[in-house]
Amino acid sequence: MNIRYIFLAIFIFVSFCLPLIVVTEFLFLEPYVFFYIPIYQLADFLSIVIISALTGLVLSMSVYRIRFLQASTKKLRSGLLGSILGVGAGACCGGIGVALISVFGTIGIAATAFLTNLEIPLRLLSIGILVFTYLMIVKDLNRECKLNFDVKEK
């Protein structure tokens, strides 16, 4: 077990989850630092945690594969796509939406509308992509790391 990659996964999870729960207004910073998950938004919160956890897993495993097995960056990119979709979904009235609208004006409003109106499908798609990428990485790792005792030494 390589402890460094476990820490990397935790680090990625925290660095995704923390900003996301601030932006989606589960963690408030003013007037007090206050963490609040209303029961009616529990599913929303859980989806954020799942996306962050999967992102941590997928990215750290991808980095391992790229570093030690010289694998392609394809799965890393799929993982990132899934994460970005998950992050963007539901980017309404809080930070992301306002930033999009301020910077891009009408296009920003259209983007915010798209991300908000399709929040649930996008989150599900994001989780789907991340789970698929995770399974593919596990499969690849099993194959690539398997010791083949039948191969004769030349």
Binding site: E25, F28, G95, V98
Partner: protein, 338 residues
């Protein structure tokens, strides 16, 4: 076609010769003619007539009025729109306050009909309307002027004169101000799930009063929804309509807050639809909402919902996001101790 250089008096003389059989109807119209006040004070026609970018639908309006398809009220609403937009500038004319209104002369309808048919140009039409106003025949509120001259009601640094109606005891020590966009999901969730407890704990107990400010930033439908809430307020149903808006909230610019949907909600709660629809059509509360948004921007509102709690000493605390009532209570308690 009359040339634009023709003098106002020539037009008036020319137009006055035109007779119309609809005079009796117009007599009636004058009684309704409209809200007092174009605060015309001194002087002679010091401002020249200006007609620029008159929207095409105003022409349709004029044409319909000339054909008696719409009534005088509706036509005058159109004129109010022109004044609001400063397309039609009201000349400053000496008018005695005791002067009584006269009838709308029949030639004005001919005038409107000719203008709709492009037989006279915009300037000439505008001059005719200015004549009506200057003679106190048609008296319309000038919202811009009204806005400038209305008393600014301030709580802390917030001008609450254009906010939604106050909830709770007007003399409550604390004031809670909410900036919200009807298309914002978090605002709707907060309103549906947290507001009732806040009302129970702080507003009904007389500790705080509550104002709702529109901060529409998520597109056209946000603005329309905000306008519609004030149109409902004209009929004394602000909170009922607001409740419906927050219940129906289901995304951004996806039709739930379109004109037709908003009229549908008004129908559901039994509002006078003609009045409501006219209010929306003529953007009656546009300036009010723009004003509220400016108040928000001035106070650093960049997202919704945002709340401000103000005490009697004008000390202000900001609460960002859809936070639960316990935070409001804590802030108020802290402000009481200080």
């Amino acid at each position: 076609m009359v040339q634009p250089s023709i003098s106002l008096m020539e037009i008036i003389f020319y137009l006055k010769r035109q007779k119309s059989p609809t005079k009796s109807k117009l007599n009636f119209s004058l009684r309704i003619v409209l809200l007092v006040s174009v605060f015309i004070s001194f002087g002679v026609f010091s401002q020249s007539a200006s007609a620029q970018d008159i929207p095409p639908w105003i022409k349709n309006n004029a044409s319909w009025w000339a054909e008696d398809k719409i009534n005088d009220d509706e036509f005058v609403n159109g004129i109010q729109y022109l004044i609001q937009k400063e397309i039609l500038r009201i000349p400053q004319t000496q008018i005695s306050k005791t002067q009584e209104s006269e009838d709308i002369p029949p030639w004005i309808k001919n005038n409107a009909s000719w203008w709709a048919e492009d037989k006279i140009n915009d300037d000439e039409f505008v001059n005719g309307i200015q004549y009506l106003i200057s003679q106190h025949i048609v008296s319309v509120d000038n919202p811009n002027q009204e806005a400038k001259e209305s008393t600014i009601q301030k709580i802390g640094t917030f001008d609450i004169s254009k906010a939604g109606p106050v909830e709770g005891d007007k003399d409550a020590v604390f004031t809670i101000i909410m900036f919200s966009d009807y298309q914002c999901e978090k605002c709707a969730l907060w309103f549906q799930h947290e507001k009732s407890l806040l009302t129970k704990e702080l507003i009904d107990s007389g500790k705080a009063k509550f104002y709702h400010f529109d901060f529409p930033f998520l597109g056209e439908d946000s603005f329309l929804a905000a306008e519609s809430s004030h149109c409902a307020n004209d009929q004394g149903r602000y909170s009922d309509y607001q409740k419906i808006l927050y219940e129906k909230q289901s995304g951004i610019n996806n039709g739930w807050a379109s004109h037709d949907s908003l009229v549908g909600y008004a129908t559901d709660i039994g509002l006078d639809i003609k009045q409501f629809d006219n209010c929306l059509l003529w953007d009656k509360h546009k300036l009010q909402i723009q004003h509220n948004r400016e108040v928000g921007s001035f106070h650093g509102v960049v997202s919704t919902p945002i709340f401000f709690i103000i005490n009697s000493d004008d000390a202000t605390k900001k609460i960002i996001g859809p936070q639960p009532p316990m935070i409001f209570q804590k802030v108020i308690k802290e402000m009481e101790l200080n």
